[in-house]
Structures are given as C-alpha cells and as structure tokens.
Symmetry: D4
Subunit: 253 residues, 8 copies
C-alpha cells in the first residue's frame, strides 16, 4: 500500500539532492527556448555539468504557439539536421523550406537535453547574477512563484563557471548585469523583421558578451541589434550549437 | 534566400490543412494531462483519428510543477511500464516506489502521442459540446486567447464519434454538458486525499459517463467523488490506457 | 439540413484563402478610423490591392462616441462631399457646419471600403514592420487577442509595397519603426486644441514619412506636432483622400 | 473659420434634441446584434418610433469576430434575401450555404436600420425596466461608461409601448425583469450546439415573454432553452423579421 | 401623479441649458479643492461667469479625510475670516490655531460658491486646453467616467477668458499645457514639508503662469517648488482669494 | 510661527475627544445619503446624540451624479419645504415639479446636519452590529481604508440606543444582522422602476425592522420590496423626517 | 571568507532536514493566530511533535493591527497569566481590564512556541486534509506563493495524529473537510458582536469537531455560531490552552 | 462583565497617549528589518526616545521568508553575539557559519526593541520628510492602509532630531528627500551579489547621508552602490549597531 509520507519524502529528497548538486555548475543556462535547450544538450554531451533555469512552470518559451497560434514552425535546410538529431519530424513545404510541429519541437528539445544529462529547473527564476572580480560567476535564484505573487523573499545563489543568457528578446541576464554594475553594456534591442538577415545574424552574434557571460538566440540578437525573424527557427538552433562550442572552448575540458 | 511570405504561407497552409482534417474525428480528447496523452497515443496506435485540445499554449497541465514546485513525480511498479514505453527514465526510491522527472514526463508523453499519429491542438479551448439526439457528437472550439482576453467571438464546431474528458479536477466537458442540457449528471467533486485508494479509484471510475462522452484521470475521479492522490501518477497513466480500451470497444474498428 | 462541419469548413476556407492572398499587398493600411477607411476605398477603386488591419474586433476607432458620448460629429462644407459619396446623411446646423450621426458614419465608411474591394482584417494587430534596405516593405501581424491576453506567440509577416499609418494619436507604425531601427524619426505629439488650424494641418501634413511609409489623419498630425481638433472630421476625411493620391503617385499604376 | 464653441453646441443640441424625442417610444430595442437591428429596421419602415440601445460604444455584438476570429459568417438560402435587402454580398460555398463578411454585415445592418429611421443610442445601457400594472412600460437607462467605471450614479427612464430584448445569450432584460419583480420567468439558458435545430428554434421561440416585453435571437433561445448554433446567422435575421411582425401586430398601427 | 418622462426631461433640459451657457466663460476653474472654490465664489460675486470642473463625482479633493483620516483641519488667525464668511465653525485649539471639521468645510465652500452664482460641473474632466495665438483660451472636456472606464471618446471644448489651475499637487492644467505645446514651463514639484514656510509661499506663488492660465493653492506651490504644508489650510484659502483678485485685474470688468 | 507638531496634536486630540464621546450614542446612522442626513438633523435638533457613519471619504452617496451624470435632481411640491429648510434652491420646471442642483443638495444636507449638532464620521465603515438580548445595541466599526485595502484588522465597537440603516439599495445593516444571527429578516430587494408608487412606498415602509434597528430611504424600500424611483428625491427626504419621528418616539425623551 | 554556495547549502539542508521530520507529526496546527500559537507551545512543552502551518509569510494573523489600526489589544484578569508566561507586558486600564501592545504579543507568542520546541512553517498553506477511515489523519500542503500566484502545482502531504484548526473566522480546515467529503459538518458562522458572551463561548466551544480534527479560537466560534468579540483576546489565549489539554488527552502520552 | 465601550476606550486612549508622545522624537527609524530593529533597541537602551515606523501591518520586512521560502538565515561568527543578545538560537552549520530560524529572528528582534523601550508603529507609512534649514527634522506620516487603498488623504507630521532610513533596497527616505528637494543625493542601487564583500560594505557604508538623515543595512548599501549579499544577515545586524553608535554620537546625550 502507498503511503503519502513516502511520496512526500521521495520527491523532497530526490529534488534536494539535485539542488545540492547544482550549487556548483560548469554552465548555467537561463531560459528554455530552442537555443538554450540545444546548447544545454551539446554541453551535457561533452560532459559539462549544465543546468537550465526557467521561471515559468512550462519550458519552451514562445515556441508553443507557432505563428499566430498556428502550431507550426519553419526551418531551413542547414538547420534541419539539428531537429532530426532530436527526433523532430519535418516536412518539406517548398525547396529547402521545412515545416515542423511546434509542440513536437518543444517536447523533443527538452527531452533531448534531459536525456543527455542536463538538469532542468523549471519554476525557478534568475533574479540576479553573482559577480566576482569583473566576471560573472554564478546566478541568484528564486522561485518563479515568489516573483509572480509579488512576495518579498530573499533568493539563494549558486556558482557557475559560465552563464548563458538564452532568455530571448529580453536578454534578461545581460540587462540585469548592466543595470546593477555600471557595466557599459547596452542591450540595443532587435531591429524590425528581415527573416533572411536575422537568421544569419543570430548565429554570428552568438558569443561572450562579458567575462563569463554568453548570449545566444534572440538574446544575442537583442544585445547587438540584429533583425528579428519571426517563426523560422534555424538560426536559433544553430546559435545553440555555436554557443556550446564557444563555451566549451572557454572552459577547456 | 528566405522570404517572409513563404514562411507565412507554409505555416498557414499546413495548419489549415490539418484543421480541415479534424473537422471529422473518431475521438476528441479535451485536456493534455497524463491520462489524455496516454489515451491519445493508444487510440492513434490503433488507427483512430484522434486529436487532443488544450486551452493553454503549453500542454501537460499540472504535471510540470511536480510536488510543491519540486519537479519530480512518483509512480508505482504497476504503472512503470507505461512510462518506460514512452521513454521516461525512472529511479527506484523505495521498493516499488519510482521517481521520475516531471518535465521529462510531460515531454515524453506528448512526443509519444504525436509520433503515434495523434493531432495536438494547443491554444484551442473547448467551449461547449455538440449534442445530437441524446448523444455527445462533437466539440465547440475557440481560441484559448479569445477566452483569456475576454472577447466575445463565436466559436467553430467539429464532429467526433467519441469525446474524452481529460480535463482533470474541473471535469469541464461533463460540467458543460450537464449545465446546459438538463442532463442529470452531477460532478461530485474529489474527496480529500487518500493516495492509495485514489490510485485504484481513478482507474475503476474511468468510463463512459454519457452516450459518446468518456472521462479519465482526475475528471473521472471528480465525476464520481473518488479520493484525490497528490503527485503520484500511476493511476492517471493506467486510466489513460483504460479509457483507450473502452473507447475502442465502443467505436468498433 | 445544416451540418456544423460545413459551417466550420466554409469559414476556415474562405478566410484562409483571403489571408493567403494578402501576403502580397500593394498597400497595407494600419488602423480603421476615418482617414484609413477613406484611403482604403480610394486606393481599391484605383485597382490597388489594399487591406486594412485593425487590432480591435470593431472598426471605427474613436468615431463611435461622437463628442462626450453624444453620438454626433461635425464636418465642414469642403468635406461634406466625401461623406455624401459614402452615403452618410448630414444636416446643416449653422452655415457651413454639418452634423452627422457617428454610428452611421462608421458603418458607411467601412461598408464603402469593402464594396470598393478593400480587404478588412479586424482583430489583427500590427506588431512590427518588415524593413528591407532602408525601406518599409511589409507588416508583422498577430491576433489582437494574443496581445490582449498577454501571450507570448510568434507573429506572421506579409509584404506590401506601401504602408499607411492611420492609427490616430498613437502613430503606432511610425513609433515602432523609429524605436526599433535607429531611425531619426520623432513623433512630436499633437499640440493642444485649435480646431480651425488643426483641420488644415492634418491634410497638409499627410505624406510619406519614411521610404514606403505614409501617415494620415491624427497619425500625421502627431508625427509633426499639429494641433488636435476634437469631434470635427473634415480634415480626417480629406487626409484619407490625400494619402490615397500620394500613395498612388508613389506606386505608379 | 471654425470655432470650438460651435462644434460643441452643434453636437450637444442635436443629441439632446434626439434624446428628448425618445423619452416616448413605440419600441425600445435593447442590444444591437443582428436580430435587434433587423427588427429595428422593419419597425421603422412601418412607421413606428423605435430606438436601439447598446451599452458598448460599438454596435454589432458578437458578429464582428466571425468564427474563431475568422471574419466570415454563414447564412442559409432562406435568410439570404434579408442580407441582400441590406446590401450585404454573399458567396455560395456549397449548395444553399452562403458566406458573408462579418464586418460588412454589421455595417450594413446598422446603416440600414438608421436609414430606415430607427434611432441608435450606443454607449447607453439598460439598467432596469419600467413596470406599470403588470406590464413592461419602458426602460431605465444609464451611460455604459458609468457602469464600466463602477460609479454610483442614478439612471434616467423613458417610456415605450413595447420593449424587445435582443441582448443575446444574456437575455438581460428578461433576467432583470424576473430578478426584481417576483415574476415567474426563468431564463433556461441555451442548450449545447445543434446548428440545424437551433436555427429553427430561434425563429419559433421569438415572441412576447411578458406583457410588453418581446425576445428575439439568442435571447429568445436562452429564455426557452433552445440549442445554440454558432456562426450561422439565418435564424437571427429571420427572428428579427418575426419579432417586428409580432410587435407590429401587438401595437396596432 | 409623477411620470418618469417628466423627470427625465426636467433633468436633461436644465442641465443642457446650463451646459450651453458655459460654452463661453469668463473663468474656468479646474479642480474643486479649497483654493478653487474660494476663487470661484469671489469671482462669481464680482459678476464674472465662472465654472468649476471636477473630474470626480464628489467635490472637495483631499479635504475630506482631514489628517490621517481624522476629519479635522487647522487654520491660522489670518485665514479664519475666510472660513467664517462661508459659515464654517472654528474652535481655538491654541492661541491663533483654529480647528474646523473637514466635512463641514467642504460642504460650506461648495455651497458658498454655488450660492454666489458659480457653476459647478462635477464628473467632468479637463482633458486638454484650447490654445489660441500663444494664449490659453479654453478647456477641452470629457466625462470623468469616460476616462475612468478607459474608453476612447472624443472630447468637447469650451472657451474661457481665463483658466485657473486649482488641481492641487498634480498641477494638471500646467502639465498638460507644457507637455503638448513645447512651452518651457516646468512643474518643479513641491518640496518636503515645512508648514510655516509653505503657508506663505502658496499665497506668494499664486499668479499667472502663462498668458491666460493662473495657478492657485498646491498647484501654484508645485509649479514653483514651494514647500508642502500638510493639513493646515489657511494658505489654500488665501490663495483662492488672491487668485480671484489677480484674475479680476487681468480680465477687467 | 506654525509648528507641524501643533497641527498634529490639534487634529489628533480634537478627533479623539469626539471619538471617545460617540462610544455612547442615542442614534447611530449608517450611510450619508439624503434620508440619513435628514434624519440625523431632525434627531440632533431634538437633542439626541446622533452620529452618521459613512465608509467613503465623501458623503452624499449616489446623489452627486444627478441623473446619468447630469447634476440635477427632482423633488415634488410636498418635499420642497424640506429642501428649503436646508437652504437648497429649487426651480419649478413644470407644475409641482422642482429641480435642484445635486451638488448643492449634498452640501446643504450635510452642512445642516452638522450645524444641528450631529456628528459625522466619514471614512468609517460599519462592519457589524452589536447585539444584546435580541436587540441591536450598537455598531462594530472599522476604517473604510482598511476594508478598501483588503487588510485583516480587528474593528472597534460602540453602543447606541437605536441604529438607522440608511445605506440605500444595499440595506447593509439589515443584511449583516440577518446573515449573522439567524434572524428571519429577508431583504426583498427593490422592484423595477415606478416613480410615482416608489415615492409613496419609501415613506410608508420607513420604520423599525428589528428591535433597535430602523430603516429609511432605499434601504427601507429594499427590505420590503418597494419600487425604485430614479432621480426624484422627495420620498427620500420625507423618509428621513419620518425615521426621525419614529426613533424619537421609540427612545422617548 | 563567505561563499554563496555555503549559505545556500546551509539553508537548504537545515530546512530539508526539518521538513523531512515533520512528515510524521503528533499535532498539525493550521493558522498562527493567538490560539494556535498558545496551543502549539503547550503541546510542545508536553513533548509532542507539533508544527504550525501559516500560509502567509508573517505569522500572527489579525493580531498585528490591534483595533482599527491602533496597535493595542485588551485582555481580562483571567487570561493575563497566559500573556505573562510568554513575557508580554500588560498595563491595567481599568479594574480587571489590561492593555498590551499587539506587536509585542505576536512576537512573544511565536517566540515562545518556537522556544518550547514547536516547528513553525510560514509561507506554507493547507490545501486539503488527509482522510483515513473516517478520521482526519494529516494535511495536504502547498506553498502559499503557489496559491497567491494562481499556479496549478500538485501539493505534498504529511501525516499527523491530530489536526487543530486555528484559522480564525474562516475555519478553513473544517470547511475543506466538510465540502469535500460529504461530512455533515456546517460552519455556522459567528454571530454579531457580544464581547462578554463571545469570550466565554470561544473557550467552551473549543474541542474535537470530527475524529482527529479539533478547532480553537474564532474557528471554534465560527463552527458553532458563537458571538464575535472584537479586539479582546483573553478567550483566544485560554482556548489555546484548552485545545492543548483536549488534544493531549486524546493522544495519550 | 466586559463592555465593548471599555475595550474601545482602552485601545483608543492608550494608543493616543503614545501617538501624542512621539510627536517629538530623538530618533525616527523608518523600516522594521534587522538593522532598524537593532538600531532602535540600542538607542532605546541608551535612553533616547526612538520610534520605528513600518508601513505594513507586520514587521520584519524580507526576513520572514529566509532563502527561497526556506525559513532559515545565516550569520557569521562576528555577528552571532548580536543575535544571542536578543535570545535567538543559532546552530553551527560549518566552521563560523551559523544558521537561525527566520521567524524566531523577527520575533526576537522586535520583542527586544520593544522591551528596551522603543516605540513601534506598524501600519504607519513614511510619506515624506520634514526639512528645516537644510536638515531633515522629522517625518510626514500616513496610514499604510490609506496608501494601499489609493486614497487621497492628508498626512500628519512629527519632529525628530535624527531619522534613520532602514527601508532596505528601496532607501525610501533618501529617495524621497532627493526627489523633492533638489538635493544632489543619488541612490546608486545595489551591485550584483558578492556575499563576502557585501557583508563588509553594509557596515562600512552605514552613516549620515544628509544632515539629520542616517542610512543603515541595505538602504546604506543601495545609496552607495555596495554589493547585495542574499540571506546572510551579519552585516545587517552590525550595521544596526553601527548606526546607533553614530546617531548617539551626533545627538550627544
């Protein structure tokens, strides 16, 4: 027979054990959109201790709704292999233009990241960063529910050798770092839509924006003022791959 | 080069094609929690045309937050095979007590349902049912965004040979049917927690509550006044399996 | 007998067919107040493919309430012919001062635009513009309901040879273009009321504010800092006529 | 030159003159959806003094959004002549199934009612009825803005020989009458969707529900528990025609 | 016997007659706190056509609550005669320190202003000013309920030879004028509390801030950065007297 | 020179002295609309210790807005003397139909009550009654601000030989008494409008509804189900006079 | 030097250790007002494992605000020893009437309970009870923040040999038990104020309301319909003492 | 027997007596977090007349929730004596790292401050300061409920020889002083987290920021841009001690 006490203990203990583990990370990814999940998987596959923090209960960010609530997304030829590696089915709509189901994409990306060994903390919000001698060295965390309820509760902090801002349009980590530390980093904001150019820029702009802090996907685009691109996601996926490469390079083995 | 017009047309046309298809369903599942997704997969595997409708953008319902925001759930030995079939990893916490990651569970369940051929319409809310000669014969749908924004917009309707209410505690389809048609169906509401008993009841109570309308998971429990059980999900998963069996039986081939 | 499936298919298919058509426009009008509707009709009559996008479900903007909820508006002699062409009845209150019913005016303007062949997409919001090589080349659209509900859903985009900002006091298109692209366009805001002067200015200020982007009515007044004029609408109507002329000139046949 | 004082006086005086006129009506129509506007036009054509009261600024109710925001509606062969009389274009989608633009329909209906001589008071809410010796004898009115702002302001009242409840699903006038006067009138509420049957019922149920008070369209359906029918509007239009006939009969010349 | 139609007509006609009258004013007072009501009474006594506009339904502004909800206010010896002229009872608390009931004060001030012949329009908000050749020449008005309900409705305008900003801390008229017309008028905001000095300053700072626009009471204090003074009202009362003198001087007979 | 400490002490001490006094009342009037203020004045004139409690900061209830924001009210010949006694000017609109300014009426009524010796506590809400041996024996009070802010703060109580419910449509005191004490008192609610009959009923229904508790004005009408009457106030005024007579009779000298 | 990781681990681990402990309780107290805290201390002193659950972050319930925000409470001679045992200073206002500072009272009560060995879980809400064979056997808990934010997250459950409902006016545990389990327990609600009688009743009514579930303080009063008593707290304190005695008796050693 | 009138008088009179006393203070502490309460106790022990003002009903600020709702805080060796002096139990987690219960800490701090003779006014908000000749000389106060309810009510003021801003992150007193008086004081805001350094800075930065105005704890950190430190409170406690020393020095005996 099942006892409620066992259920409670099972959940509390396994969660806490994991929480205790991630107090020391190699990479902390903030945001669970496509570039963050792809980067998390790539890094976990290379053996890094990586965790994704998402303030909402559900992961996937703006991916769920496809375009105007029609749950489909588009990817180009160049990015299709990334989707395929995660097991997402695509269908060719026009030469080089592939369509995927947005819900299948979210599910496969987060499933893939978890299976590769990444940690995923949903319902946990980044409140601030830890700064140490001119370098981002960790995250200050709180329950997303605490923020949503407007409560005044102190956060907890963890350390991380690198932080990836994958928060999308908001570039929340970069903004927080800049606003609180007199750092001369401005988030330029995205330019109006130009799908073609935006797709290239999001990969090209992916990189380290401050010692210890990297940006990918729309966060990268927003930091440097690239063009937005709408419901086409090839650039996002490739930006996640690129971010993982750059972080791995920076961290060394 | 990528043109925004192509992206727009690709999304609109593939979505529309699917929407046109589901105007005629074998089974319409309302709600995307565990019992609904399991049932959808089972039915799709048997060749039925089945679609899941979820009013929120993200699927998974209350599964994401585990217990008190600690993203873990518990399942018993008897239900572990269901999780394994979907590819969800479990870990034995105590004899016969398995723990799984709540995010991995959501991702795997919806991914599995989609891969089996079920349709998933997120962001689409059930507003009412279609009734024909004393039988539930379809659903009245609207955008979840229209409801969330409090707008007054007419819905659209589809036909379905069977409808499964997998909306959890609310038992929304049953309530709507009862409230609007003078049907003597009362939603008793769940009883206070008794995990052990609740797990058994949720499977036993799964069934057809009105011609054409079935209930599974917490919806079934709430219709008949079973006990709630908290973050243990074996009963939910098995209820989904059971609902699929009963619906298949009712529909015939 | 009438089947719900036929109704659903009839609506979905005719709407989507039209949506597919307007992915390529000659002129996209944002806002459905008097200057936008007049311009749309003039352009449609000349054979251009023109669509009006209105974020609210109802068109007409601030026209409905007349002055302080008294549903009447005033026009001058010079603008009365425009109202008459649309079939709006006017009554002379004083020499050269005509009064019309505000509800009749909205109804006749939108009816006239539709009959002339313009497309009207109500409930669809402009979220951004498409920019191509220093030129406004289209619109980024989303459901108004998505914005009203505060959801995070990707938009879709269309192309248009010209865009008309007829969003009234907000000059939303101009503001969006300026805010996101480092364009040195400032929306000066309207000056306090001077009915007489405001009426002249709104026509005089109507024009192209950036390659591919025109402004009419109060949007034009707000971009250049003209005077507001209250519930007198001659200037608005004539500004719509003027905008159509200037756009036609710019587009050529 | 145009003087703001003249504009103000023109609006205030023409509105107030009309307001003074409608203190004594033949028919007060509450609600500006299709059945209300059709009835108003029919009655005005027959020479009755009729006014439509709409609490929102815009008229048309739920018509604007078509089905799920796709701005189209459907009508049957039998009701198409009504739309044609108002000048609404229809297109045959399938044999006997016609599609119209929802915005064109709203515009044409209200324009037609006004041209026929009906008064339209938008932004004015029904707050209660006037009852005299067991008979509805008028309306108690207030600004819709006063209600929306939650202010406590006394209403004003007018007299009317007949009142038509065309408030749609809410059946607001019937509810108000029943709730406040111990009248044994219950609003049964609509039944779940059955388009075919609902269309017939809405016309059949149109009629006098209490001395002096008539109900049409969805209000009639809701009073007597007919089926809802979704975005097909033939029944609504014919119900308006029927309501006008019955009221004319009741009033005599 | 009393007929509702007579009541309606009595109210509509007497209000309208007054509204028509005030389209042309000598002085428009915005705000119904102590300085505005005192000024209105003084000006009405001298024969000017003066009207007070108050956006809320109740007049009196912040006077009602006394100090921290204790409904008393304090005045000095020098200002006591003003209160006495209005019939407000005072009681000496300490030498030269008089206490009055805050509710009695509001009631007496507005009663006195009305009896002297001033018009009072409560529930009517100033939305903007009328500017003519570098001079404030009137007000743009709307229902307070329209603003409170967030509706988009055009205002109406009136002319006035002088306008008095008696809106208290907000100095709303001055702010509106400055914000919309590029006028180099800044509202400095009040300084922290210094009761003694604030009392003197509020009278000294009362005056014409722009051709045609005067400020009194806390509005004057806020324009020029004087000290706030809390629940002592001598300065307010004397500022109203002073404003009336200055306006009378400016207008001539 | 004026010192903030003196101002603070003056207000706190005079208010508290009065608060201490009213812990023992002859009559506690809840609500500050016309019937409450008239009754308070009549009772104070006869020498009773009477206090009016109003939860809002401003007194006067729904009187301010006249009819549909047009600040006028109507009274009949029979009630005009009451207004005149308070110094309210009236103007004859039709034989026996008098119009008064709604703002002047509020001001004069509260001024008159205060001058006659009644206490007025605005911003103080009735939270409950004090019951002693089957008799209403006092009031339970709290700051209106505490209720408005949704705070959980204990109230304070006072004793009173009689309580008058003058809270208007809500009949708040009667409802509270009935809801909390198993008293078989139902508030029937007002009937729809019939001005003529309502005017008579409101006076006739004024009286003691429970030992120690009287009701006047719309509260009396609502307790017994009389007709509402709109912006005509003769009945209200005469009901206040009647309530005072009945209470005086009940209390004896 | 201090490392953020150590701080995080210190907090997480000590909290978890305590959470794991309270999965098995002797007594679970819901609500942290005076009767709950007094009972918790008495029970802890006797050696029982007792925990207090409070949904808000701060404990003390409605005690903080004293009477109408004046931070004082009153106790009688009989209850003064309880306050003194906690170290709360009292001052005699009249014979047998003692006044204490409300903030000092909250602080001393919770400090005393903690020092005696009771556990206090603030920010943790009771969501339901655990029922086993007709007996309350535990609590279903969730973060208060999850409820405040309106999130849908599963709770966790604990076992307890007895549960004390000390939730005040709401009697939340009793209501939840009754509403969900068909138990014929009605919460009568408190009667209007009678301080004297209420003080006696609250102690007399303290007791076991259902097998395993006790009620104290205002919860007991509300279950059985006793009188409310306002800011006098002797009854509350003595009710806590009484509840502890009865629970100890029921549990045995 | 207990009479409600006695309870009311007891509370009103004892509160008033205290309110009258604190119109003249030596030190006014704004905010009731750890540094404010420690400073208040130290100053009271030295014989100064000191009062703490807290806008919320409950004191303790952000202390209650510990870290991420786990109700524990950390202190270092150096600050442990402060906690011990207040009677807070600590437990050594690691060498030099002590853990305390957050609820016990709040309770003990405020209890200690009160016992030492400090006044505590909860539910009372600082609205502004009193400035006299370039020196902060007092506070402008209002009910927290008045602010929370958004009411417009005048405040009351008191005098104080020194004011301590202990409002935490907001540094509310400093901001108010700077914003309203043209004082060149900028609140730099805290830097991102660096626990070790933040702990030292908060003590070092404690001091007089403007004649008569001191800042402690996070308010001091925010004024000068020190690092935030999370749920470690040694620096806060020592900052309170330091503030008391500096204020005592400034005031002399």
């Amino acid at each position: 027979m099942f006892d409620e006490r066992v259920i409670t203990r099972a959940i509390v203990e396994t969660y806490l054990e994991e929480f205790r583990t991630i107090v020391d990370l190699d990479v902390a990814v903030v945001g669970s959109g496509p570039s963050g999940l792809v980067a998390a998987r790539e890094l976990a596959k290379r053996g890094y201790r990586v965790a994704v923090f998402e303030k909402r209960l559900s992961v996937g960010g703006g991916l769920w709704g496809g375009g105007m609530l029609m749950n489909r997304i588009v990817v180009q030829e160049s990015a299709r292999p990334v989707l395929e590696e995660f097991g997402v089915r695509t269908r060719e709509y026009a030469p080089g233009v592939y369509v995927a189901h947005s819900v299948e994409t979210v599910a496969a990306l987060v499933y893939g990241a978890l299976q590769a060994g990444a940690y995923v903390f949903n319902g946990v919000a980044m409140e601030d960063v830890v700064v140490r001698d001119g370098r981002v060295a960790g995250l200050v965390l709180n329950w997303g529910a605490v923020h949503a309820a407007g409560l005044h509760v102190d956060p907890l902090a963890i350390h991380s050798r690198a932080v990836l801002d994958a928060t999308g349009h908001e570039a929340e980590v970069v903004r927080k770092l800049a606003a609180k530390n007199g750092v001369s980093l401005t988030v330029s904001g995205e330019r109006s839509m130009w799908a073609d150019r935006g797709e290239e820029e999001t990969v090209a702009l992916t990189g380290e924006v401050y010692p210890g802090l990297f940006a990918s996907g729309m966060a990268a685009t927003n930091v440097y003022g690239g063009h937005r691109m709408g419901p086409i996601f090839g650039g996002m996926l490739l930006s996640g791959v690129r971010a993982a490469e750059l972080i791995a390079e920076a961290l060394g083995s």
